[in-house]
Amino acid sequence: MKKRSGNLFKKEKKGVSNKKHLVWLFVSFFIAIQVFFTIYASTKHSQVVVLEQEKEKLSKENYKIQEELARASSLTKIEEKAQELGFKKAEDTLYVKVDDVFVGTIR
C-alpha cells in the first residue's frame, strides 16, 4: 500500500513539475519575443528618425532652391541685365505685308 501511494505521489510530483516547466517555457518564449520586437521596433524607429531628418534637410534645400529660382526668374532683373549687356528694346516696329507674288517668286 505504501509503495503504491509513494509511486502515485512521485507521478503527481512529476506532472506538476512538467507543467511548471511548460509555463516557464512559455514565459521565456514571450519574454524573448518581447525583447526581439522591442529591439526591432527601436531599430526601425531610429531609421525613421534618420529619414525624417533627411526629409527635413531636403525640404529646406528644396525651399532654398525655389527661392533662388524665383529671384533668378525675375523679368525685372533680366531686363536690367539685358541693358547692362547692351541690349536695347525695339522701339520702332515696322509692319511688313508679304505679297502673294513675292511668295511665288521665292518658290
Binding site: T38, A41, S42, H45, S46, V49, K60, Y63, K64, Q66, E67, L69, A70, R71, S73, S74, L75, T76, K77, E79, A90, T93, Y95, K97
Partner: protein, 570 residues
C-alpha cells in the same frame, strides 16, 4: 546586548521614518513640480510651419514666393558677455556694412537696452535676417544667442505690381498676415494652417521610440495663378513712370483688362512701394488708387451716358442737338464746351467726337433722371466691382431723388459723379464686350497639392444691346481718329477711345488749373483683346488729357500691340 539591539531597532525605525518622510516630500508634495520640470526636459513640443502659398503670373512664373529668414534671439540666463559687448558685435551685422555710423550706434543702443532687461528670459533681437548674415553671426560664437527659422516673403519683381500683390506683415500675436491686394484678400487660403508635434526626446535630442507622440500635420497654403501677364505689367509700370515724370503728374493709374472675361492683365499705380520692405514706407502708399481712390471722370463718362441714351432709344446716332449753338444756362450755372467752340445741329457722333458738354446736357435731358440713374446703376456705378483685391472702395451714387436739374446736366459729362478707375474701366469693358458687364478678376486658378480649381469669369448683367454697343464703339473710333487726341492716334490700328479731362473738386469748388486727365480705349475695336484706362493726377505740363493721358495711352498700346500680335489694317 539587549540594550544595543533596542538602540539599533530605534535607530532603524527613525532612519526609515525619515526616509519615508523624505520620499513623501519629494514624490507626493513636490511630485507635480518635479514631474513638470522633467517633462520640460524630455517632452518637446514644436509648431510645424505651414508654408505660405505662392502667387504666380499667367505663365506660372513667380510674383510672390516664400524664402528663408531668421529671427535672432538672446536667452538672457545663458548670456556670458556684457550687453554692450554683444551689441557692438551684432549691430554692424544687423544694420549692414554700407549704412552710416550713426545708424550702427543707434542699433547698438537698441540692442544694449534689450539685452539689459531684467525678469526676462527670452528676448528677440532682430527679425528677417538672411541666411548669410546668420552664418556670420554663428562664426562669432556668442553664448546665449540663438536663431529661429522664419518665413519671409520674396517678391522677384520688386515694386512692380506692389498694389496688386499687397504685402505680408505681422498681427498682434506676431503671426504672418497678408495686407492689401491679393495677399490680403486671399490671406486665409494662402496662409494654410500650422501643425503641431509633441514627442519625448532623450538627453541627446533623439526621439524616444515606442512613445506615442502627438502630431497634427500642417496644411500648406494654396497657390494663386493669376491672369497677370508679366510683359503687360512691366510695360505698364515702365511707361506709367515715364508718363508721370514727363507730364509732371503727382500720380497715375493704368489698368489693362481682357473685356470678355474681366481678366486683369496688368494694373499699375504711382506712387508705389516695395512690398518686401513695406515698413520703410508710410501707410499712404499701401492703398491701391486703382480700386480705392475716387475721382470725377469727366468726358470718358460721356461714353456711358451716350450708350444709355442710344439703348433707351431716346436718341439715335443722327439725332441733332438743338441746344448746341451756345452755352446752356441751368439755374445759376452756365455750362460751356471745353474749348468755347459751339457746333449747332451736332449729331450724337459729333457730340462724342467734339466731346461737347453742351451736347451731353441735351442727351441727359432726353434720358431723364430716372433712366440715366437706372443705366448708371446697370453699368455698376456706385457699387463695388467685387474685384478680388483687398481694399476696394466704392463712392456712393447719390440717391436719384436728391438729384437736381443741374446734377442731371453735369452727370452727362462726368462731373458731380465719382467713380474709381476700376469701376470706370469695368463699365467701358461692357461696351467692348457686346454690352455685357463682367466682374474684373485677378486670380485665374487656385492650386493645391494634387488639385486645381478654375475661377470662372462672372457675367454680371447685360447692360446695353449688342447693337448699341456697336454704335457707341463706332463713336469712340471716330473720337479716337478725329477728336482732340487725333494727333496721337496710331494710323492703321483699330482703336476705339475717349479722352477725359476732369476738374478736381476742392472744398466746394473746382480747381481751375488742376485736372485729372484720362484716356480709356480698347483695341482692336471689332474683336477687342484689351481695354486700357490711363489716368494722370494733376499733370502740370498741360491740364488736357489729349496732351497727356492720350499720348501715354498710345505709348503703352504700342507695346501691347506687339505683345498681343495686333496688326494694323491696310
Amino acid at each position: 546586548m539587549q540594550l544595543r539591539l533596542k538602540l539599533l531597532t530605534i535607530f532603524f525605525i527613525i532612519g526609515f521614518t525619515a526616509l519615508i518622510a523624505r520620499l513623501f516630500f519629494w514624490q507626493i508634495y513636490k511630485g507635480k513640480e518635479l514631474s513638470a520640470s522633467a517633462r520640460v526636459q524630455y517632452r518637446v513640443s514644436s509648431k510645424i510651419l505651414a508654408p505660405r502659398g505662392e502667387i504666380l503670373s499667367s505663365d506660372d512664373s513667380w510674383l510672390a514666393s516664400s524664402g528663408e529668414s531668421w529671427l535672432v534671439y538672446a536667452q538672457l540666463p545663458d548670456v556670458k558677455l556684457s550687453p554692450k559687448r554683444i551689441a557692438e558685435k551684432l549691430a554692424p551685422l544687423f544694420v549692414g556694412d554700407e549704412k552710416p555710423r550713426q545708424e550702427v550706434l543707434s542699433e547698438i543702443d537698441r540692442l544694449t537696452t534689450l539685452l539689459s532687461k531684467k525678469d526676462v528670459v527670452w528676448v528677440p533681437l532682430k527679425q528677417r535676417l538672411t541666411p548669410e548674415v546668420k552664418k556670420r553671426i554663428e562664426t562669432l560664437d556668442i553664448e546665449g544667442i540663438g536663431f529661429e527659422a522664419e518665413e519671409v516673403r520674396v517678391y522677384p519683381e520688386a515694386s512692380s505690381a506692389a498694389h496688386l500683390l499687397g504685402f505680408v506683415g505681422k498681427d498682434d500675436q506676431g503671426d504672418n498676415v497678408g495686407y492689401f491686394g491679393l495677399e490680403g484678400y486671399y490671406d486665409f487660403v494662402l496662409s494654410g494652417k500650422p501643425g503641431f508635434l509633441s514627442r519625448e526626446k532623450d538627453a541627446l535630442g533623439v526621439p524616444i521610440p515606442l512613445e506615442a507622440g502627438r502630431l497634427v500635420a500642417a496644411i500648406e497654403g494654396v497657390d494663386l495663378i493669376t491672369h497677370i501677364e508679366k510683359g503687360v505689367q512691366l510695360a505698364l509700370e515702365k511707361r506709367l513712370l515715364e508718363g508721370v515724370s514727363k507730364y509732371g503728374a503727382s500720380g497715375g493709374v493704368a489698368i489693362v483688362l481682357e473685356p470678355k472675361t474681366g481678366a486683369v492683365l496688368g494694373m499699375s499705380s504711382y506712387p508705389s512701394y516695395d512690398p518686401a520692405t513695406y515698413w520703410q514706407f508710410g501707410d499712404a502708399f499701401f492703398l491701391n488708387p486703382a480700386i480705392s481712390s475716387s475721382f470725377e471722370p469727366g468726358s470718358v463718362f460721356k461714353v456711358l451716358v451716350m450708350a444709355a441714351a442710344l439703348d433707351a432709344g431716346v436718341v439715335t446716332s443722327n439725332t441733332k442737338c438743338d441746344n448746341c449753338s451756345g452755352p446752356v444756362v441751368i439755374d445759376k450755372y452756365i455750362i460751356e464746351t471745353w474749348n468755347q467752340v459751339y457746333n449747332p445741329d451736332s449729331s450724337m457722333v459729333d457730340v462724342i467726337v467734339n466731346s461737347d458738354n453742351v451736347g451731353m446736357v441735351f442727351v441727359s435731358r432726353k434720358l431723364g433722371k430716372e433712366l440715366l440713374y437706372k443705366y448708371l446703376q446697370a453699368f455698376g456705378i456706385g457699387e463695388p466691382t467685387g474685384i478680388d483685391l483687398q481694399g476696394e472702395a466704392s463712392p456712393r451714387l447719390r440717391e436719384e431723388k436728391s438729384w437736381g436739374v443741374i446734377d442731371l446736366a453735369t452727370a452727362g459729362f462726368g462731373q458731380g459723379v465719382a467713380v474709381t478707375p476700376i469701376q470706370m474701366i469695368t463699365a467701358i469693358s461692357a461696351v467692348a464686350n457686346d454690352g455685357v458687364l463682367v466682374k474684373p478678376q485677378v486670380v485665374d486658378k487656385i492650386s493645391g497639392e494634387g488639385w486645381e480649381e478654375d475661377i470662372k469669369p462672372v457675367k454680371i448683367r447685360k447692360v446695353i444691346s449688342k447693337k448699341t454697343a456697336s454704335k457707341i464703339t463706332g463713336m469712340m473710333v471716330e473720337a479716337a481718329m478725329k477728336g482732340e487726341a487725333k494727333w496721337t492716334h496710331m494710323r492703321g490700328f483699330k482703336v476705339a477711345g475717349k479722352t477725359g479731362t476732369a476738374q478736381i473738386p476742392i472744398e466746394g469748388h473746382y480747381e481751375a488749373e488742376k485736372t485729372i486727365a484720362s484716356f480709356v480705349g480698347f483695341a482692336p475695336y471689332d474683336k477687342p483683346k484689351f481695354v486700357m484706362l490711363v489716368t494722370l493726377q494733376g499733370p502740370t505740363s498741360s491740364p488736357w488729357a489729349s496732351e497727356t493721358a492720350a499720348p501715354l495711352w498710345y505709348s503703352i498700346a504700342r507695346d501691347l500691340f506687339v505683345y498681343f500680335g495686333i496688326q494694323p489694317e491696310n
